[in-house]
């Protein structure tokens, strides 16, 4: 069970189609201050916070439409960012593939503080063993026999979900392709989609090819997974070997986003959308749905959310929880709004209303950095600031 955090504040990392924003609050989460846009003008589809080993490092996956996608880091909560060359993610020449977009950044487990993962487009998993300095494409997935048959979803052929499951197991999900699990530390993996349907294929229950939108799991109960599909809401209790329908009492089982409660493996959150043809919330009512019984029932949460004329949509990485107690829940919409709840979804407040389209929301509780880490961060920060200072006499 993750330790209930009691750090010195809460960060909300918001990736949008035109840059990244950072919201910060005290642990009370009653007032938020916004900074940004950082990485101005670049779509930021992925963000992450790495608080392991005394770090307070932000990560962002940018997708400059002209000059290519890149992984960037900040050690001063967004003030300055690394350059494109510093954490280069590149496909090997032999693959014939080129990086199009970074879709997910996932720090590894706490006991492996220098391990990191990135999910990218075209579907691939990149791994780092040195806290993000260097990256290698996972060979097992790169050479998977199914690769020639994976086809892009509406957003592209993206590996958008990475779920470490412990004991050498890892799950990944892609659109389209489905859910895959490795049981040997990533050397190989098999499709695990029994019970997950693919409405857009002649065979509605293929071995692979589903357009899985999101998978979440709780570290205290890794065998249990929740899955939001392109039509379909599922749970597995055997690490993904089999999936069961849990669309009980939701207005639609179409949707993108999903988040797990930080302390309760039975509790998860989703934002249902009307359909694949009309990707807005049902009845123009913005509602987050929560299950507290592992999907047997779902309850709408709407206090503080607009219930008329709200043609909103939340994308697959646009919903997250923090590890506070009570847990915070956050989401961002395609219309540029960000909502926050400090009472596990019982009530909501809008913390931003006019951002560019929100594509990623990640929450993190800040723990004070130990003094030696602060000195290291300060040195890195000073170096970056000095590199950006104009030389004497330059215009």
């Amino acid at each position: 069970m993750p330790k209930k955090a009691s750090g010195s504040g809460v960060l909300l990392l918001v990736g949008t189609t035109k840059g990244a924003f950072v919201f910060r609050s005290s642990g009370a989460r009653t007032k938020w201050t916004m900074s940004g846009p950082y990485l101005r003008g670049e779509p930021v589809y992925a963000m992450a916070f790495d608080g392991r080993a005394g770090r307070q490092r932000l990560w962002a996956g940018t997708g400059n439409p002209f000059f290519g996608s890149s992984l960037r880091s900040s050690d001063d909560l967004g003030g300055t960012w690394s350059d494109k060359e510093e954490h280069a993610i590149k496909f090997p020449a032999s693959s014939g593939l080129a990086l199009k977009q970074i879709w997910q950044i996932r720090p590894g487990p706490v006991h492996q503080p220098d391990v990191m993962y990135c999910g990218v487009e075209p579907s691939a998993l990149f791994e780092s063993r040195d806290a993000g300095k260097t990256w290698t494409a996972n060979a097992g997935l790169l050479g998977h026999e199914h690769r020639p048959k994976w086809t892009p979803g509406g957003g592209g052929l993206c590996l958008h979900t990475i779920v470490p499951l412990g004991d050498g197991r890892m799950g990944i999900a892609m659109s389209t392709g489905g859910f895959y699990r490795s049981d040997d530390g990533g050397k190989s993996g098999r499709a695990r989609n029994v019970g997950v349907r693919a409405e857009f294929l002649p065979d509605k229950n293929p071995e692979f090819g589903q357009c899985v939108h999101k998978v979440v799991s709780h570290p205290a109960r890794p065998e249990r997974l929740f899955l939001q599909n392109h039509w379909g809401l599922y749970r597995s209790d055997d690490f993904g070997d089999t999936w069961h329908d849990i669309a009980n009492g939701v207005p639609s089982d179409f949707g993108f986003s999903m988040a797990i409660h930080p302390h309760d493996p039975d509790t998860a959150y989703i934002v249902p959308l009307e359909s694949d043809g009309f990707r807005c919330v049902p009845e123009a009512k913005l509602r987050v749905y929560r299950t507290r019984d592992a999907g047997k029932s779902w309850k709408p949460l709407s206090r503080g959310l607009p219930q008329e004329g709200a043609f909103e949509s939340v994308l697959r990485d646009g919903l997250d929880t923090d590890t506070s107690d009570p847990a915070g829940v956050y989401f961002g919409t395609r219309s540029g709004k960000v909502f926050a709840s400090r009472d596990e979804g019982a009530s909501w407040e809008m913390v931003a209303k006019s951002l560019p389209s929100v594509v990623c929301v990640k929450a993190a509780v800040l723990a004070p950095a130990p003094s030696h880490a602060k000195r290291k961060v300060t040195a890195a920060h000073s170096k970056r600031k000095a590199a950006r200072r104009p030389t004497r006499g330059a215009r």
Binding site: G41, P65, F66, F67, G68, K84, E85, A88, K90, F91, A93, G96, L97, A98, L99
Partner: protein
């Protein structure tokens, strides 16, 4: 064969602040010119070409007024004194 490569504004910081760079294209193609440019300014190369050596989707490269996409791509010939221009396309952004 000397050619001038025109660097777009956002990439000039990676070309030492220069807007025009004279390079030698010994093989006589756009690809040779960009390779020579990349030898001197790898930050520009990585932003113009993918890791597979293709021009990025939302960039255009011109030889004088002609877009190489409608010619022979990176194999498009260059000639003495021509201008190879790199420009962001309207399809991006």
């Amino acid at each position: 064969m000397p050619v001038v490569v025109a660097i777009p504004g956002p990439l000039q910081p990676y070309a030492g602040g220069r807007s025009d760079v004279m390079v030698s294209a010994p093989g006589g193609t756009v690809g040779d010119a960009l390779e020579a440019l990349g030898d001197e300014y790898p930050g520009v190369r990585d932003r113009v070409l993918t890791e597979q050596g293709d021009v990025r989707q939302h960039l255009n490269v011109f030889v004088d007024e002609d877009n190489v996409r409608f010619a022979s791509g990176l194999a498009t010939p260059v000639f003495d004194g021509c201008r190879v221009t790199i420009l962001p396309a309207v399809s991006g952004g």
